[in-house]
């Protein structure tokens, strides 16, 4: 719904706009959907000029249909599959995280969502040497744990021992740490402006500190949206949808894999677990993975987790794998 302004397209002059406005046509949608003969008579403007303007506006503002074969070719060349560093998780996600899509991890507190996010970031940064942006909204990002994971992931132990004597051993891990950029966003507006800034930087291709970016991790989305949802105000839903639009545009336009973590809630104190943020949010991620601990209560401590697939465009749901987040 763009307001008609002079200079929006070549034939549109200020006087034309004043005349149109006097007749109640203020936005592009109003103009394009009105009967041009009628408008030409009422505003005493030339019909040909109006038709020309309409053609240009349609060309500028409408979406173009694309053919399925072209879309497939484009997808084949631009989609990448990022391995997560854990073979069982890769198996669950059909060989890894797909770029251009939003993947969601959900679970009760303490099941290891942040740990899995850190592990994925470590694997992409160390193994694939790609940049990662980590948006932290809960304060749970611990760089020392990330460093520990990076050290554990370096495969060749002999090499490590030899290089250790030459004090060169930690350089790949430190480089990997430099490729992970952490942004702390604690409210929805900060998050939206951080995403906007990321989009601007990517579209202007500022190469300075941002190398090839392949993944954006948001931990967690429910922490910033929960304070706004509910009650009689619908503003929370509107902001949530704005956020989902930003995430999906980022994923698709710049071929990034977006990983989001979410909470789970219960309907009543004994009901089954369901993902938080409601039905509107459930359409945003294309893949959803639920993490659960193997023992049900906090009295038994264990590092074993069970990940089950709750929503996926490629695999049957209900598959479960076991993960060790130790």
């Amino acid at each position: 719904m763009v307001v008609l302004r002079a200079g929006l397209c070549p034939g549109l002059t200020e006087d034309m706009i004043q005349l149109l406005r006097a007749n109640g046509i203020r936005t592009v949608v109003d103009f394009v959907s009105s009967d041009l003969e009628d408008v030409a008579q009422k505003c005493s403007l030339s019909y040909k000029a109006l038709v020309a303007v309409r053609r240009v506006l349609l060309a500028q503002f409408s979406a173009f249909p694309a053919n399925g074969a072209d879309l497939y070719e484009e997808l084949k060349s631009s989609t990448a599959i990022l391995p997560t560093g854990s073979p069982s998780l890769d198996q669950l996600l059909d060989s890894g995280l797909y770029t251009g899509e939003v993947t969601e991890l959900m679970g009760v507190p303490g099941t290891g969502k942040t740990q899995v996010c850190l592990a994925i970031a470590a694997s992409v940064s160390l193994g694939l040497k790609q940049h990662v942006v980590f948006l932290d909204s809960t304060g749970g990002f611990t760089a020392s744990r990330l460093y520990q994971m990076l050290r554990a992931q370096t495969e060749d132990e002999e090499e490590q021992a030899i290089l250790g004597r030459l004090r060169l051993c930690f350089v790949p891990q430190l480089e990997a740490l430099q490729r992970i950029q952490v942004v702390r966003v604690f409210s929805i507006y900060e998050l939206l402006s951080a995403l906007q800034e990321l989009r601007d930087r990517l579209s202007q291709q500022v190469v300075s500190s941002m190398g090839p970016l392949k993944m954006v991790v948001l931990d967690s989305v429910s922490a910033v949206i929960y304070p706004l949802l509910g009650g009689r105000q619908s503003e929370g839903l509107a902001l949530m949808m704005q956020l989902s639009r930003e995430l999906k545009t980022l994923a698709r336009e710049f071929s990034l894999a977006v990983v989001v973590t979410n909470q789970v809630t219960r309907d009543s104190s004994t009901g089954p677990l369901k993902p938080a943020l409601g039905r509107s949010w459930s359409f945003v991620p294309s893949t959803r993975v639920l993490l659960e601990g193997k023992g049900a209560t906090w009295q038994k401590g264990t590092t074993q987790r069970v990940a089950s697939l709750a929503k996926s465009p490629r695999q049957p749901t209900g598959i479960q794998v076991e993960l060790d987040i130790g």
């Binding site: 719904m1 763009v2 307001v3 203020r26 936005t27 009760v108 507190p109 303490g110 740990q115 850190l118 809960t138 304060g139 749970g140 990002f141 611990t142 760089a143 744990r145 990330l146 520990q148 740490l177 430099q178 992970i180 950029q181 952490v182 942004v183 702390r184 604690f186 409210s187 507006y189 900060e190 939206l192 402006s193 951080a194 906007q196 800034e197 601007d200 300075s208 429910s222 922490a223 910033v224 929960y226 304070p227 706004l228 949802l229 509910g230 009650g231 509107a238 704005q242 909470q263 789970v264 809630t265 104190s269 004994t270 938080a276 209560t297 906090w298 009295q299 038994k300 401590g301 590092t303």
Partner: protein, 367 residues
């Protein structure tokens, strides 16, 4: 700067009017100017001016960030964070087993939640931490001040005096043993009166006062920049009874959690909360779980659950971003929070008492 109007922090009614008038990006708003804006959407010139100021601030903030300065955003690489974390101190608890499972003590810039049944020692631990945060740096502390927000009225000054005197005595012993100059200098300022005068105490009687206090805390902290610990003793108490609208409760709690995270991050202090326990009745058994529901569980970064095992007090680290889940035992003495002191001979026997899940291997060996 193609920032969409829907993402700007304006009042919802104003946003709705802007969307209805057809404005899409922030640039269009800035181009129109205050007079044009007030005519288009039918608001007064002052309101239009205010709205444009907000928009301009947001867009300038974006531009400054794009130019490379980190300024207001908290953006940095993981490597820089690692260096920061390695130089950060911890607040010790005087119970070395607890410090070990926490990874050195209570971490700064994170929210730690202590849950437990009544009488297990949550307020004792909070008071211990309020004293320990003031330990000078040469003795291994962070030399900070403490803010204590009390909702249950369980803060006993006499007890804090006991804990503080024991702490000062402990530091004196260390100083005598090591005989270093900075130790002696630090001890001159580390006295009982000093410790008590650096604990800022607030009493909140209901949830409105608590919320107001937390939202006013950033101003207080910018005046008292040495504060390194904020304790809220009893976050469950004002929210658990008399709350008819549960969705309002969830929203308020989540807003509170975000505000506490902002405080912890911006002022480099640790935030410690205490929570109560409630019973969840399952199909065949009932278990004790922390109160305030599932969504609150995500608010704290580190969760510590204190519980009883016959007559032994145990602490379990339930949720932590960098440490494994484990359980240890502790004691509360007249000096405060301390380790359980197992005598060397019967160490293995006590080990089995503390951890009933393990097979009693040593007992079999004895037999």
């Amino acid at each position: 700067m193609q920032r969409e109007v829907g993402t700007l922090p304006l009042a919802p009614a104003l946003r709705a009017r802007l969307a209805a008038a057809g404005f899409q990006t922030a640039q269009e708003l800035l181009d129109t100017g205050p007079c044009g804006l007030s005519k288009e959407i039918g608001i007064s010139r002052e309101e239009a001016l205010e709205a444009l100021q907000v928009v301009r601030q947001e867009c300038h903030g974006d531009a400054a960030r794009m130019a490379g300065g980190s300024g207001a955003t908290r953006r940095c690489t993981a490597l820089e964070l690692l260096e920061e974390e390695q130089t950060q101190g911890f607040i010790i608890t005087f119970c070395s087993a607890l410090d070990n499972i926490l990874g050195g003590g209570v971490q700064l810039t994170k929210i730690t939640e202590i849950c437990g049944a009544p009488g297990v020692g949550k307020t004792q631990l909070c008071m211990q931490l309020a004293v320990d945060v003031q330990i000078p740096e040469c003795f291994g502390g962070v030399a900070g001040e403490a803010v204590f927000i009390d909702t249950e009225g369980s803060f006993m000054v006499d007890r804090v005096v006991d804990i503080a005197s024991a702490c000062v005595q402990h530091c004196h012993l260390i100083a005598e043993a090591q005989q270093e100059e900075d130790h002696r200098k630090a001890l001159e300022t580390f006295s009982l009166e000093n410790i008590l005068s650096h604990i800022y105490y607030f009493r909140c009687r209901d949830y409105v006062e608590l919320l107001a206090q937390v939202y006013l805390l950033p101003e207080f902290l910018s005046e008292h920049s040495k504060v390194r610990l904020v304790v809220i003793d009893g976050i469950a108490f004002p929210f658990r009874h008399d709350f008819e609208d549960l969705s309002l409760r969830t929203r308020l709690l989540n807003g509170l959690a975000q505000q506490l995270i902002i405080i912890a991050n911006d002022h480099k202090s640790a935030v410690v909360l205490t929570n109560q326990m409630t019973t969840r009745i399952g199909q065949s058994q009932s278990t004790l779980v922390p109160a305030l529901g599932e969504s609150w569980g995500h608010a704290a970064t580190v969760r510590l659950i204190l519980h009883w095992d016959n007559s032994q007090r145990l602490a379990t680290l339930y949720k932590s971003p960098s440490q494994k889940e484990s359980t240890i035992a502790y004691h509360i003495t007249s000096h405060g929070f301390r380790d359980v002191q197992p005598p060397a001979v019967t160490h293995s026997a006590e080990g089995t008492e503390m951890n009933p899940r393990k097979r009693p291997r040593t007992e079999q060996e004895k037999q």
